[in-house]
Symmetry: C2
Subunit: 450 residues, 2 copies
């Protein structure tokens, strides 16, 4: 037979089992956290009608999209989860209950130029809350709590959820008579972290056509720093001049007011007037999340409030708020920088049962008993020497091996070996299950230090 050399396309992540198990654990944490806030899972097709996906059209999307025909159909792979959501809500709006909360953790496709750490197929993990015409600010206030729970769940502590409100920025530019330029200004200011204040000023002057005074006023404004209380106080000084600005401040206060009730510590949250998010799409609260020790990674969870989810597909006004985590890239970066919590599981089983007798029935029963406690148990049936069996257990990184020979069977016991310590105990199957459960069910401890 002719052999074809196997390969995986570049830009497509394919993990070895130990890493895949860790990746799946993060997905499970996301799924559980999103569900715990009442978000329903959604699963839209990866292939859609190209016309529908490209309703907004233009720019990078059009270039990067995987588009192809099958028969007469002009098809494309989704490039994000927002457009399919808009289509879904528009299509089913008479059947959905609003507010409609959905999460979707799915792969999206962008045929970008391949480069290290950039993926052409990657997971997005999104939540959105969609209202029918109206949506209470409480939904915007809840988002930081969800972000907080997710990243704590990942075993991280040194992260910060940075929040701003686009109405404050738009209102402020209005005050300066720059309302028509607010989009350009926001996109410029958004680069502050990357390019610094001097370059931002230069672009404001040269490209946006602002006066020196206007640019300075803006730089002074976005330089407002301090605790959440201090920043909110500083904003009070600008109140009463612009309605939009005042609404934005009121919303920002509402978002910050209940952080304690939501269980979000002050240290993981910051009001940050420099956050704008590039997209014109956002109209209210905006979110970014940074790893404090790795600001170079950029935002690992972003989103915001928008007013019109599905304007391309339906007349109905559908406001919403949502966030997105680029999970594949996040995993890649955390792994590369050795920031994955070492307590994340990496073995496919909690225990490997090693039968030492010809009759397999006792080992099978033992494995089933351990499984009945909710454990992941592999039964090893290969006819190999003991040393090879232990080498396999080590290669799989299973935390426990359970040995079952004639002696153990005669006593109704099993030998539980802790693979890390080498310690071996003679226990009943129930006792062994308990020891394993205690070891594997511990919560992932949070890394508090850099």
């Amino acid at each position: 037979m002719d052999i074809i050399k196997p390969r995986t396309l570049s830009g497509f992540m394919e993990l070895l089992p130990d890493k895949q198990i860790r990746f799946e654990k993060l997905v499970q944490i996301l799924r559980d956290t999103y569900a715990s806030y009442g978000f329903a899972p959604l699963d839209t097709p990866a292939i859609e009608d190209a016309q529908i996906l490209l309703a907004k059209g233009g720019g990078e999307t059009e270039k990067q999209i995987y588009r192809f025909t099958k028969g007469d159909s002009d098809l494309a792979l989704r490039f994000d989860l927002t457009v399919p959501l808009a289509k879904y809500v528009a299509l089913h709006c008479n059947e959905l209950a609003f507010p409609f909360r959905r999460f979707q953790i799915s792969k999206v496709y962008r045929g970008e130029r391949a480069q290290r750490g950039r993926f052409r197929e990657f997971y997005q993990a999104d939540i959105d809350i969609i209202g029918d015409g109206k949506l209470d600010i409480l939904n915007e206030a809840e988002i930081p709590a969800i972000i907080y729970k997710v990243f704590r769940g990942f075993g991280l502590s040194r992260f910060q959820i940075r929040v701003n409100n686009r109405k404050i920025l738009s209102g402020f530019y209005d005050m300066l008579g720059l309302g028509d330029k607010s989009g350009d200004i926001m996109r410029t200011v958004d680069k502050l972290d990357k390019i610094g204040a001097d370059k931002v000023k230069l672009i404001l002057l040269e490209d946006c056509g602002l006066t020196e005074a206007q640019a300075d006023e803006i730089l002074r404004f976005i330089a407002i720093r301090g605790t959440n209380g201090e920043v909110l106080s500083a904003l009070e000084g600008y109140l009463g001049k612009n309605e939009l600005f005042d609404t934005g401040v009121a919303e920002l206060k509402a978002v910050t007011a209940n952080l304690a009730a939501f269980g979000v510590p002050e240290e993981n949250f910051a009001v940050d007037l420099t956050i704008a998010r590039g997209l014109d799409y956002y109209t209210g609260t905006v979110y970014e999340t940074t790893l404090l020790d790795h600001p170079e990674i950029g935002s690992v969870c972003s989103g915001g409030r928008y007013d019109n989810l599905a304007g391309y597909y339906i007349e109905k006004q559908l406001p919403g708020v949502g966030i997105s985590i680029g999970l594949t890239r996040l995993f890649y970066v955390l792994d590369e920088q050795d920031l994955l919590n070492p307590a994340l599981p990496s073995a496919p089983a909690d225990a490997l049962v090693l039968p030492m007798t010809d009759d397999m029935a006792p080992a099978i029963s033992l494995a089933e008993t351990l499984r009945s406690f909710g454990l992941r148990v592999q039964l090893y049936g290969e006819q190999k020497k003991f040393k090879q069996k232990m080498a396999y257990a080590n290669k799989l990184q299973v935390p426990f091996a359970v040995l079952l020979g004639e002696d153990e069977i005669a006593q109704g016991l099993c030998s539980l070996k802790n693979m890390a310590t080498g310690e071996q105990q003679l226990l009943t199957p129930q006792e062994a299950a308990k020891v394993i459960l205690d070891a594997v069910n511990a919560d992932i401890p949070v890394i508090l230090e850099k």
Copy 2:
């Protein structure tokens, strides 16, 4: 703005939330059951090099595959999970520990002619155990236990796992001097359930060129019925004439010997000499699973033992055993025939917290307390009338609403309303959590009747 009419492509399943939640529950059961037997999750790209996916090539696959170019690349969407597994194992064989057990629950793509109940994008839920050169029969014996656990987990009881061994069939045809025709004969016999014995005989005579005596001998053989013990006894009569046959019988005995230890009841398992599976690929044990009250659905979980997983990609001999569940079609059929267990969850939350005060902090804290018990809790923040809030709770089908007004807050209590019974209790948040947990964490009861 121009409106583009939203639509979802035909042949692509897109569910409303209540059904999606049930679908996800089935996926979760599959994931947990597969993991409980020590299978590692695998996630290969949906897009692969077309040359690699089509290494085997030919026939329906070539016609149905979604194939397209991007830049210079000749790409295609996976049409099953076996070919990507073969590629993965061939590519990473020096890094994997063998036996390598993996599960993958992913979408695959086939551009079939659209028809009711046929999908172009559908989930397959596969497990495979791959050996390096050798693989013990115990792995084949374990598969029925996993199938049993999955379908019981789905809340079904009236199903049967039918098992045979291709070596028995091949050996038997050898005995009749029909070794060179065994592939054709097996494919014909495999149709017995669908077309009946008379038509099978006709094809054996006319298309396969068998003699009347040979055809009768085969029909007599596949007519062997009875309990597992009876069928195995009947096979004893043929022993000693053909080595392959004898090996097949020994393997079949090994697979059935430990059913009790694996916890598989006799009623859910049958040795069935008519099962052959069409594919030449299988060389040993083969599995099919039928719903006893709906044989017209055909097999809902099939697979078998094979000797050469990755021959197209690598010289190394990689034997394995695996099964596949076509989950999208299974879900569609179960739903259509009203066979989905009514106890499967359909609400996005276990409880909806309804604040009755302007200050949201107490309701937020209450929701967080309930979540800390592992419950899925939605906080309802919209400014609506009480009646509208209850209508929303009803539309979501949440089992409980939790009302929190001034009176409850003053007492440190909350009002827990059971949405099904209308019963309302004044409880501490901890007591309320306990009541909700007891109601939602009950195992899915198995449907025992038709």
